[in-house]
C-alpha cells in the first residue's frame, strides 16, 4: 500500500513536471472561408517558428505548444475562438488576421490578461483602445493608406479615381484613410462605393465605373472580391489601373483574377524575405516547399519576438512580457530589428509598392 502511494506520488510529480516544462501559445486566423489563404500563411509561419525555437531549447527551458483555432474572419467566431484559447491556458496569441476578428478578440484577451500580437491587422482601432496587451508587427492603415494615396496623386495625375471598399473593418478602414489622404493631396474622388464582401456579381459596379470613365480604381478589402471585380471588369472591357493593399498579397488573387490583374499595384511593407535576417528561415521554408511571401514571415516574427521578450523578462507572464516588449527593444527578428511604441505599434513602419506581373508580384518602388 505504502509503495503504491509512493509510486502514484512519483508519477504525479513527473506529470506535473512535464506540464510545467511546456508553454502554450495560440495561433488564430481564417483557416476556412474566403480568406483562408491568409490563415494558411499565418499557420505556416507560426509552425516553423515554434519548431525552430523548440529545437533550440524552447523558451526558458519550456517547450512551446501551439493551439491553432479558426476564426473565418468572422467577429462572432473570433470571440468564440478567443474564449477557446483562454480555456486552453495560452499566454500569447499570434493573431488574429482580419481586423474585424482581431479587435473583438482583443477584448477577450485583455480581460483575461493574455498577450495578443497580430502579424497583420492594420486597422488603427486595434491598438488605439489603450490595452496593455495588444501589439502588432505590421504597420497601421493611417500609414499604409497615406502611401497608397500619395502614389495615386503622384503617378496618375488627371485620371478619374474611384475608391471602393468591402465594408469590412479592415477594407473600409483603409479605404477611408485613402479617401482622407487623397483629399489632403487635392485629388477629387469621382466615385466612392462599398460593395458586400462575398458577393459574386460585380457587373453593375464595373459598368458604373466604365460609364464614368474611371482611370484608377483603389480597392480596400481582400483578394477574393478584388480578383473577381478585376475579372468581371476585363470581361466587360473595363481596364483601369488597379491599386490596392496588403489584402491582395497572395498568389490566390491571380488564381481568381487571371491576367485581369496584370499591372495591379499594392502597398505592403518592404520585402522581408529579401532581408538578410530572414535568409535562414526563407531557406527552411523553401526546403518545405512553402512560399515565404505575404504574412508567413510576419507570423514567424510574432512568435520569435515574443520568445525573445519572454527570455529577456525571465518569465512568460503576459503582463511582464508586454512591458518588456515595449521597453526592451529593438528585437532582432526575421523582419529585421523591430521596436514597439507605447501603444504596441511598430516604430517607423515602412510601406513599399508592389506590382503584379504574369502571375507573380514583386517590389515595384520602395517609395511612392
Amino acid at each position: 500500500m505504502h509503495k503504491l502511494l509512493l509510486g502514484t506520488a512519483a508519477v504525479l510529480a513527473m506529470s506535473a513536471g512535464a506540464a510545467q516544462a511546456q508553454v502554450k501559445i495560440g495561433v488564430a486566423g481564417p483557416l476556412t472561408g474566403p480568406n483562408a489563404a491568409f490563415g494558411v500563411q499565418l499557420k505556416t509561419g507560426a509552425d516553423l517558428a515554434v519548431s525552430d525555437i523548440n529545437k533550440a531549447g524552447g523558451v526558458l527551458g519550456q517547450q512551446i505548444k501551439a493551439f491553432i483555432v479558426d476564426d473565418a474572419c468572422d467577429p462572432k467566431q473570433a470571440v468564440t475562438a478567443a474564449n477557446a484559447l483562454v480555456s486552453d491556458g495560452v499566454v500569447m496569441v499570434d493573431g488574429h488576421f482580419c481586423s474585424a476578428s482581431t479587435i473583438p478578440a482583443s477584448k477577450v484577451y485583455t480581460e483575461n490578461g493574455i498577450l495578443e500580437i497580430s502579424p497583420s491587422s492594420t486597422n488603427p482601432a486595434y491598438t488605439d483602445h489603450g490595452s496593455a496587451y495588444t501589439f502588432r508587427v505590421c504597420g497601421r492603415d493611417d500609414q499604409q493608406g497615406a502611401v497608397g494615396a500619395e502614389y495615386i496623386a503622384k503617378h496618375f495625375k488627371g485620371d478619374k479615381v474611384a475608391v471602393l471598399d468591402d465594408n469590412s473593418t479592415y477594407g473600409k478602414g483603409i479605404a477611408d484613410q485613402v479617401r482622407l489622404n487623397l483629399k489632403k493631396l487635392g485629388v477629387t474622388v469621382t466615385y466612392n462605393a462599398s460593395y458586400t464582401a462575398g458577393d459574386k456579381d460585380y457587373s453593375a459596379l464595373v459598368s458604373r465605373m466604365k460609364a464614368q470613365g474611371i482611370g484608377v480604381v483603389y480597392m480596400g478589402g481582400y483578394y477574393s472580391d478584388m480578383g473577381l471585380i478585376m475579372r468581371e471588369g476585363a470581361a466587360a472591357g473595363f481596364h483601369p489601373q488597379y491599386v490596392s493593399e496588403d489584402g491582395a498579397m497572395t498568389s490566390s488573387l491571380w488564381q481568381i483574377s487571371g491576367p485581369a490583374a496584370e499591372g495591379m499595384l499594392m502597398t505592403f511593407p518592404p520585402p522581408a524575405e529579401k532581408d538578410a535576417a530572414a535568409a535562414k528561415v526563407v531557406a527552411e521554408l523553401n526546403a518545405l516547399h512553402e512560399d515565404p511571401s505575404g504574412y508567413v514571415l510576419y507570423s514567424y516574427a510574432t512568435v520569435q519576438i515574443w520568445a525573445e521578450a519572454a527570455k529577456k523578462a525571465g518569465t512568460t507572464n503576459p503582463a511582464k512580457v508586454a512591458a518588456e516588449l515595449k521597453k526592451g527593444g529593438p528585437w532582432q527578428s526575421v523582419l529585421g530589428p523591430v521596436s514597439f511604441d507605447s501603444k504596441g505599434d511598430v516604430v517607423n513602419a515602412a510601406y513599399a509598392i508592389y506590382k503584379w506581373h504574369n502571375g507573380q508580384y514583386a517590389v515595384y518602388a520602395l517609395k511612392p
Binding site: 483557416l31 476556412t32 472561408g33 474566403p34 483562408a36 489563404a37 465594408n167 462605393a193 462599398s194 460593395y195 458586400t196 462575398g198 458577393d199 459574386k200 456579381d201 457587373s203 453593375a204 459596379l205 459598368s207 458604373r208 466604365k210 460609364a211 470613365g213 477574393s224 480578383g227 473577381l228 475579372r231 468581371e232 470581361a235 466587360a236 472591357g237 490566390s252 488564381q255 481568381i256 487571371g258
Partner: protein, 302 residues
C-alpha cells in the same frame, strides 16, 4: 441609354440564374408545402460537380464538349443528391408537425456545406474563363455596351431548360401526376398515383435545375466556394416568394425581377444597400399582394 441597356443585360443574366434556382423552391413548396432550405446547397453541389468534371476534361476534349459534359454530369448527380436528401431528411418526417421538415432542411443544408468544405477544401476554387469575348452591342458617348458570349449562353441555356421543364410539367404523365399531387395528395393517391415516386421525382427535377444554374454560375463568375449556396439560396427563395410561391412562371418572373432590381440599384443607387433594396421591394410587394405577383390565394376549404 447605353448604360441602362448594359444594366439590363447584366440584370437579365443574373435573374436567369436566380430564376432557375427559384423553380426548385417553388416546386417543392407546391407539392409538399415545405421550404427546402437545402436547395441552395444543391446548387452549390452542382457547381462543384461541374468544376470537377471541367478540371478533369480540360485538355482531353474540346471545350464545348467539356462544358456539355459538366452540365449533364452535374444535373444527373445532383438529381441523385436531391433524391437522397428527400429520402433521408424529409420523407420520414412527412406526417410530423409543420416545422419538423423545415428544421431538418436547415440541418441538411449545414451537412452539405460542411461536407463540401471537408472534401473540397475551404479555399475558393477558380476556373479560367472558358468562353471569353463578346460583342459590342451599342456605342454612345464613348461607352461601349458589352454583351459577352457567356451572357448569351446563360440566357439561351436557361430558356431551353425551362422549355423542356414546362413541357414535362404540362404534357407528360409525370407532370400530370405532379400537378395532381400538388392539388390534393390524398385524392391523387386514391386515384392510383404513386405520390412517393412523384414527390421523389419532383426533388430530382428541382435538383437538376439547380445544378444547371450552379454550372452556369461557375462558368459565368469563374469562382466558387462551399458557402455560395447560402446567398444564392436566399436570393432565389426571395424570388420564389416575390413571384408567388407555388407558381412556376412566378419563380422565373421573381428571379428576373430580383436580378434587374440588383443591377439597376447598383447602377444608380448606393451599392452598399443593394440587398436592402431587394428585400424592401419584397416587403412592399407582399404588403399589397400577400401571395406574391402570380401566386394564387389559398382557399380555405370548409
Amino acid at each position: 441609354m447605353a448604360y441602362a441597356l448594359q444594366l439590363l443585360i447584366n440584370g437579365v443574366t443574373l435573374g436567369m440564374i436566380y430564376g432557375l434556382i427559384a423553380v426548385g423552391y417553388t416546386m417543392v413548396y407546391g407539392i409538399i408545402g415545405m421550404i427546402n432550405f437545402a436547395h441552395g446547397d444543391v446548387f452549390m453541389i452542382g457547381a462543384f460537380i461541374g468544376l470537377i468534371v471541367l478540371t478533369a476534361l480540360t485538355g482531353i476534349t474540346s471545350i464545348p464538349l467539356a462544358i456539355a459534359a459538366a452540365f449533364i454530369v452535374a444535373a444527373v448527380l445532383s438529381g441523385v443528391y436531391g433524391f437522397s436528401i428527400e429520402r433521408v431528411a424529409y420523407r420520414p418526417l412527412r406526417g410530423s408537425f409543420r416545422l419538423a421538415p423545415l428544421i431538418s432542411a436547415i440541418g441538411m443544408s449545414i451537412v452539405l456545406e460542411n461536407y463540401v468544405q471537408v472534401t473540397q477544401g475551404a479555399l475558393d476554387r477558380a476556373i479560367p474563363p472558358l468562353l471569353p469575348g463578346g460583342v459590342a452591342v451599342m456605342r454612345q458617348h464613348g461607352f461601349v455596351v458589352q454583351l459577352s458570349f457567356m451572357q448569351v449562353a446563360i440566357v439561351v441555356v436557361t430558356l431551353a431548360v425551362l422549355a423542356v421543364f414546362t413541357w414535362i410539367v404540362t404534357k407528360t404523365p409525370l407532370g400530370r401526376a405532379m400537378r395532381a399531387v400538388e392539388q390534393d395528395a390524398k385524392m391523387a393517391a386514391l386515384l392510383g398515383i404513386d405520390t412517393n415516386t412523384t414527390i421523389s421525382l419532383t426533388f430530382v427535377t428541382g435538383a437538376a435545375l439547380a445544378a444547371v444554374a450552379g454550372v452556369m454560375f461557375l462558368l459565368y463568375y469563374g469562382v466558387i466556394g462551399f458557402y455560395i449556396g447560402f446567398n444564392a439560396g436566399i436570393k432565389a427563395f426571395t424570388a420564389a416568394v416575390l413571384g408567388g410561391i407555388g407558381s412556376l412562371p412566378g419563380a422565373v418572373l421573381g428571379g428576373l425581377l430580383i436580378g434587374l432590381i440588383e443591377a439597376f440599384w447598383s447602377g444608380y443607387g448606393p451599392l452598399a444597400y443593394k440587398d436592402a433594396a431587394v428585400y424592401s421591394i419584397l416587403a412592399i410587394v407582399l404588403m399589397f399582394l400577400p401571395s406574391g405577383l402570380l401566386g394564387r390565394h389559398e382557399v380555405e376549404k370548409v
